[in-house]
């Protein structure tokens, strides 16, 4: 009804400072956290502990697995979905890796291929069920979470599996141990895996047709369908991507800790979602940024680190993380309502 009174404000390009804030909120948040880290870091012999090479390496190692999960989660959330199963799929894949390498004596590459295929398949099946049976992704992946935990208990025979290295039966190929090592004694290999995947995910989301489709489907599924975009294929594929990422994270987990347990990755899905949300991706879909997610993940890791270096109690650490998530979301809602968003 107000068609004739619609804003003239758009006659010239204008972006409020607040909008810039949101666009780069995760990077800004990261800068703030790092600045705070430096400011509040305990010092010893004049050295800032927070900035010590070892400490930085520790931070980026600690976020490798959640970071990998968050990359996949970004695709799903931009496509207006959610995947609660990633932590459990990580557990499943970590158990499967350990089981196949240690107890079944499979070669490294066959094992890794099968585990990755399992993750992709698990995700794709969830996407398929959600899309074809029109069940909300929240429910399907909640069921998937349970199913993956069950499968991993079966795969492991209700136990955990320690991975020891060497030749012969009951030993994993020595090459697999590389995932737990640090390049030059400093840079964690697990983080390298994360960085490579992060670059790949950023490229796919920002520079391919597929990425454009993901945004369109999440923005307005019906409009995307009417525009000839293969909506169902896109929706199924984003869950295949989270499955893939969860599988890689599971392999990294097994390699990093020489260990596979059905309980691995419990609650990781929430950390991954937190990283995505802090990164400025809209839980309603259609908007988001991979770089934001990466920054969000690093930010969570840096935050936990600085709180721990200062001996902040576990309870306060949880509170601080919660507060940051709410602040990120509030900032976004505020700006969205300001620009006449949904």
């Amino acid at each position: 009804m107000s068609t004739s009174t619609v804003p003239a404000a758009l006659e010239r390009p204008r972006r409020s400072p607040l909008a810039y804030l949101v666009r780069f909120q995760s990077l800004l948040g990261l800068v703030i956290v790092i600045a705070a880290g430096i400011g509040f870091s305990p010092r010893r012999h004049g050295h800032i502990l927070f900035l010590q090479t070892d400490n930085v390496a520790n931070i980026i190692r600690s976020i490798a697995e959640t970071g990998i999960l968050a990359l996949g989660m970004t695709f799903v959330i931009i496509a207006a979905g959610i995947d609660l199963s990633v932590g459990a799929v990580l557990g499943l894949c970590s158990v499967l890796t350990a089981e196949l390498l240690v107890n079944e004596g499979w070669s490294l590459w066959t094992t890794l291929s099968l585990v990755v295929a399992t993750g992709i398949l698990f995700g794709a099946v969830q996407g398929f069920i959600s899309t074809k049976a029109r069940i909300q992704a929240f429910i399907v992946t909640l069921a998937g979470l349970q199913a993956a935990r069950g499968l991993s208990l079966i795969a492991s025979g209700n136990s955990f599996i320690n991975i020891s290295y060497g030749a012969g039966p009951g030993k994993a190929p020595v090459g697999f141990a590389i995932l737990g090592e640090r390049i030059g004694g400093v840079f964690p290999v697990a983080t390298l895996v994360f960085l490579v995947l992060a670059a790949l995910a950023t490229f796919v989301l920002n520079n391919t047709r597929y990425g454009r489709y993901v945004f369109a489907v999440g923005g307005n599924e019906k409009a995307a369908r009417l525009s000839g975009i293969p909506v169902e294929a896109v929706k199924i594929s984003v869950y295949a991507i989270t499955g893939l990422m969860a599988a890689v994270a599971g392999i990294v987990h097994a390699g990093q800790f020489s260990f596979g347990s059905p309980n691995d990755g419990t609650g990781y899905e929430l950390n991954a979602i937190a990283a995505v949300v802090i990164g400025g991706t809209d839980l309603f879909g259609g908007a988001g940024s991979m770089v934001g997610t990466i920054a969000g993940a690093v930010m969570l890791g840096a935050l936990a680190n600085i709180l721990e270096l200062n001996d902040v109690s576990a309870a306060l650490q949880l509170l601080a993380t919660g507060a940051i998530i709410v602040m990120a979301a509030a900032l976004q809602t505020f700006v969205n309502s300001g620009s006449g968003g949904r």
């Binding site: 502990l49 070892d54 600690s62 955990f160 990093q256 260990f259 347990s261 309980n263 990781y268």
Partner: protein
Amino acid sequence: MKTLTLAAAALLTSTTLACAADGKPIYKDCGPNNDYVIGFSQANFKEPYREHVNHELERLVKQYPKFKLTIADGQASVNTQVSQVENFVTKQVDLLMISPFESAPLTPAVTNVIKKGIPVIELDRKTVGDDFTAFVGGDNRQIAKEAGQYAANTLLPDGGEVAILEGLPSSSPAIERLEGFKDGLADNAKLKLVAVQPVDWQEDKAVTVFGAMLQAHPDIKLVYTSNDLAAAGAYIAAKQAEKADQVKIIGTDGLPGPSGGIRSVADGQWAATFTYPTGAAEALDLAKKILIDCATSVPRNVMVPSQRIDQTNAKALYDKEQF
């Protein structure tokens, strides 16, 4: 409690001694005049047993004015716990205590601590290999086996149906306690194990699961639970089924306090519980030897024995511990 601790200390079984080379002190910055920071990386804060360990450590560390204790919550995640161990190194604590959430995954991180010259005392669970200074703990398998033998020989000499409520499946204490108890049961061929189900250490789950077990096997005479919380749940289920008198309950942990297992035995709700010792006093004593007394060697394996709490001693123990 004090006497209990001393009695336990007297029973220390040490197999080998952790020695520093050439008779040098284990920790190079040791001495009676310094202040020390001890970092404790706890596997998680969720289980009451873990909470009890934290409380014991915090209570007992007050006896050592030179010690400052920091406890970190591993949140039941090996990734988180590894980070915390790394952060303790960054903070340059003088000594690390750790209850690993799982053994193998924490091993490289702990090895790294030892390499930096920081002594490590492990509580409750060992990492793999030799890279730790000392271990203080109980033997899950042994404790559960004793419980099984107690059930087989004392509680049900004439046999009957037995059930087990397991902890979190695939976690190592759950597996060890399950297997140990089964071993103990073997003492009496007339016992029949009719049901084993995991309840993930949780009381509410134990209520549901044991309620269903009693439906399926109305003649269950005894249930072994892998922790006190599960035993409390089993009691509720038995009461709801009006079988509290028929079913004998054995717990594990033997926690003190009004909501702990000792009281439940004293009140006659359970038949027995087996303490899983915290080792807090022993661990702090070792820390003192290493840091303040500049010990060149300490006992490597300190096994703190379990104590059976049953109708004969529960009441006395419960009354005594009201400190």
